[in-house]
Symmetry: C2
DNA sequence: GGGTCGCTGTTTACGTCGTAAACAGCGGGG
DNA sequence: CCCCGCTGTTTACGACGTAAACAGCGACCC
């Protein structure tokens, strides 16, 4: 098992395969491709990745597709619905990821590991889209944000149950896993957003003022080098492994983890 | 028609004190209180809680305060800045919470427990605001979303370091703790949003269609009763306790948890 | 006491947004 | 040949965020 060094994040920006679901059918070379829902949503993802969520308007998206804004409404009932489609499309990139499998071939831990990294790859590839995943509520209350599609929930539950988890334990694991993923990845992309924003706004005045404010927080100042280290990849790995260990314990002791730590 | 036992949640809607920071400046005796930034932000929080984030416009907020929209711009430079203020105000309710202390009087575990429940109370009290906490990036990359203010970061680090954590371990704990809080609470409020929305949109057609779709996901169907249980409070407690145990281990073994599971 | 000033809130106005509705080109079946 | 359904365009409306000019009004200086 190779350790991820900070400078070589294995979940970085290579199109691990998922692109398939999103490519808007190359506009150069060939003539004007016909509009359709998939192409529109694909273009929206592309647009958000390039210019940010706030910049996405129906008019601009239309222009990006060489078409008037109203043309989009033949295929998309509203902007909100479009955003739902964007979330779905991005999450569906999981299906195109060859490293993530719907069924566990090498044990449930391997399955969960691959799934987690697959989702992380998506989050990192679409940092501006990912907050939407958390914001826009899924259809049913029990299909939780990071996984979203019923197919994955089904796959998740089956995988664990087939591996010996009780039904309660599997559901409980599903909850723990989703909240872990959501929290970690949301934090990671938001942090990334800050870093990027900080880069393109060099303001001497604010910087100085921030520095003065800091005088009341000596520990923060002293630890700033540590605090601003980007150890996301290592943190993620560690927390994920911890979660898996915890689940393993639940499995071995054959109980739902509701209460009662008998461990020392 | 109160819910089964959701009301037993200790972090539910009682004004545990935090209201102080958000109250739109008590109008004692006198008639129309003058406008000012605090009052505007307070009204915005109130408005979002009542009508949802999407419903907040400058015009409507003005009307809510008995004033034209443009009057707000004397005290708030833009809508975006107003939202930043809202986030800050809501997070600052922590200072008004008598159960949360800036310094650990009964050990670091007690400190972290109280802090976590304080933040959870805020999230549950302002479910429509909380996603903003995750979405709007903090000033510095290392002041992470759920805690946000430097004062809390300082307090957090000092508490752990004074309790014997190494600096690396304290920073690492800070990261683990923030992502845990963010993930759990975001999931919890989003779930709550779905449940509520589902309540006021009774559509027979979609329900039927959803039911047919489900036929491909037998496990999900079978486990639906388990899946739709709302065990947020218990889950939260359990995950929090697990995190604390994990930190305790780090403390006792005196190492940063970055690496080296000596197991396997 | 009258003139001026600074604060505060209002009015008006502009450009952009999402989207409803009417319209126009066009390719294929009576 | 004509007409119809499909697709994209035009036009239009109301709401939005916000810049700019303006109006009321208490305080202060002479």
């Amino acid at each position: 098992m190779d350790l991820p060094r900070a400078d070589a994040d294995p979940d970085s920006r290579e199109g691990r395969g998922g692109m398939a679901a999103v490519m808007p059918a190359a506009p150069p070379g060939s003539g004007r491709t016909a509009l359709d829902r998939r192409r529109i949503i694909g273009a929206a993802v592309e647009f958000i990745d390039a210019h940010g969520l706030a910049a996405l308007t129906m008019r601009r998206l239309g222009a990006h597709l060489g078409v008037e804004a109203m043309a989009l409404y033949r295929y998309v009932p509203s902007r909100d619905n479009l955003l739902d489609g964007v979330v779905e499309a991005v999450v569906d990139e999981l299906y195109g990821d060859p490293d993530v499998h719907l069924t566990p071939g090498h044990g449930w831990q391997d399955y969960l590991q691959r799934l987690a990294h697959g989702v992380r790859r998506i989050a990192l590839a679409h940092p501006e889209v990912f907050p939407l995943v958390a914001t826009r509520p899924p259809a049913a209350p029990w299909v939780r944000p990071p996984l979203r599609s019923l197919r994955w929930v089904e796959s998740f539950l089956v995988a664990l149950i087939d591996s010996g988890f009780s039904e309660e334990a599997a559901v409980s694991a599903y909850r723990a896993y989703s909240s872990f993923l959501l929290g970690h990845l949301l934090l990671e992309v938001s942090q990334q957003g800050v870093a990027v924003n900080a880069e393109d706004k060099p303001e001497g005045v604010e910087e100085a003022q921030a520095a003065t404010d800091l005088s009341e927080y000596p520990t923060v100042v002293r630890l700033e080098p540590l605090l601003s280290l980007d150890e996301s990849a290592a943190e993620f790995e560690e927390a994920l492994e911890n979660l898996l260990e915890r689940l393993e314990l639940v499995l071995r002791e054959g109980r739902a983890p509701g209460r009662g730590d008998d461990r020392e």
